[in-house]
């Protein structure tokens, strides 16, 4: 199994979710994060003191899928999350040694089906 970690724009989450739905991927975990990268940030002022903020709101998606699904899932996310503007985000794939469904104790692929 692989753990697909996608960092996307908050505004694209809906599209990405439905794209995954179509693939039949129901199980996902979502985390709201802040990200810095090429995308430029903005300046804030509080009573004259200036703050440079280059960490911008992003959403991190975690989806664990069977190895063979990796490509289709990655492409689905890519397609749904892309705007073409700087700041679209990244997808990172790592391998998973084991997965367990807590409710049943099932392990391996069946745990995430």
């Amino acid at each position: 199994m692989v753990r697909i970690e996608a960092i996307i724009r908050p505004s694209r989450l809906d599209e990405v979710k439905s794209a995954l739905d179509e693939l039949g991927v129901r199980g996902i975990s979502v985390i709201e994060i802040k990200g810095a990268g090429k995308q430029k940030g903005y300046t804030q002022h509080y009573r004259g003191s200036e703050y440079q903020v280059n960490l911008l709101p992003k959403v991190q998606l975690i989806v664990v899928v069977r190895d063979e699904e990796q490509e289709r899932v990655v492409e689905a996310i890519e397609g749904a999350a892309r705007t073409g503007e700087i700041g679209d985000g990244k997808i990172f794939v790592t391998s998973v040694l084991e997965a367990i469904r807590i409710r049943t104790g099932e392990r391996g692929d069946t745990a995430i089906s």
Binding site: P10, S11, D14, E32, K34, Y42, T43, Q44, H45, Y46, Y51, V53, N54, L55, L56, P57
Partner: protein, 498 residues
Amino acid sequence: MKLRLWRPALTALALISLSFTAFAQAPSTAPTGPATAPAASAPAAPAMSTAPVESAAAPAAAAPAAPTIDKGDTAWMIVASALVMLMTPGLAFFYGGLARSKNILSTLMMSFVALGIISVQWALWGYSVAFGADKGGFIGDPMQYAFLNGVGADPNPSFGTTIPHTIFMMFQMTFAIITPALISGAVVERMKFSAYCLFILLWATFVYDPLAHMVWGLGFIGTKLHALDFAGGTVVHISSGVSALVLAFMLGKRKGHGSEELRPHNLPMVLTGVALLWFGWFGFNAGSELAADGVAGQAFINTHIATAAAAMSWIMIEWFKYKKPSALGFGSGAVAGLVAITPACGFVDVKGALIIGLLVSPICFAAIQMKNKLNKYDDALDVFGIHGCGGMFGAVATGLFATDKVNSAITDSKLLGAQNGLFYGGGAHQVIVQIEAVIITAVLAIVGTLVIGKLVGLVTGGLRTSTDDEENGLDVTEHGEVGYSSDTSTVPAFAGVD
């Protein structure tokens, strides 16, 4: 009826053309001073108390008015003015909680800045335009009280003749402040702050102030048409609600409207706003009597009961439709009830208030459903749906339920010279008058907003921020701040709080 309908149409057109010409001339004409006004004016004075009669009895009451100051009335009207002032922050929170967190400050600022801009405008010329000596029934002499010259401890001979002129002016100012702020609900999350500021300054000057004059300031709607508007159904709610609709059309929809879900970010904040609005509205409605008397008492309880009824009737609709009565529904209903009872509060009895409250919610709810169906415009926080529609219903309902049993001034020809409501033996007359007043107000608001909106767009290079700014949120792009910050210095707090 057919024939009848010509009247409003014509009046409306006449109004538009005249009001501007009248205004153009205004400065040139020499101020006639208020001394000439009283007799004529008394009828239109929002003060339904016996005060105007006194002043009518003594036309030159200006000078000797001082001794007639009543400390009870004065105490009440200072507090009433403070209560209405508090409504604008209340509105800010009502709207702010409904916006997304990345726009919370820009939404709050659209209301708060009205406290800044309009207060100064009112002191410099606004009050004169609204309550200066009548100029052809459309505006007041803009010079008469410029810089509030002559607004002192002595009462205004025509309005609030038992309280210092300063306090009457202040009470009216708080109305002038919240009205443009109401419009902001339709344009939040996308309108340029600069454009907004300029817009409300002009709108207050060319739409609100003349309208206030026409209805309350001895203008033709009050003194000739004899339309009834106790605390501002036409002047405040219809004018702002209709203007909001027009401006929403001019601005276009928010980015993500339809695709993204645009949910309220903080409903407890919305209820904070509802609480302050409800509380402050007692000053708005009962204070419009300009005295601590029986009519004020009636306006007070009508306001509360209609509001409660409307809040309940809104959640009942939700209960039947979704099995889920919501907090937002309760708040929306309460505001709708406050809006609808505003023009009627000092003219109707408790039964009338109850019925107005119960009926306004279905009407506003339907209006909002309609908006969602049509999906033609993005009245973000439903200013038209609640204030526009609720205000129109209230204005018309006043023509149905008004009764001189509650307020003898209604049918007193020396005072308001109007008729009882349709259900109180007055026949259809007053209903039609009310409808005419609604149409005149709507036309003025539409034309005024279109003209001013275009103008402002030219000055500020468009009314709307860039889509990038919209995506990042106006707090950061227009105001250089975020509403909610994390202690981790560079990490603004997480969604739902940033």
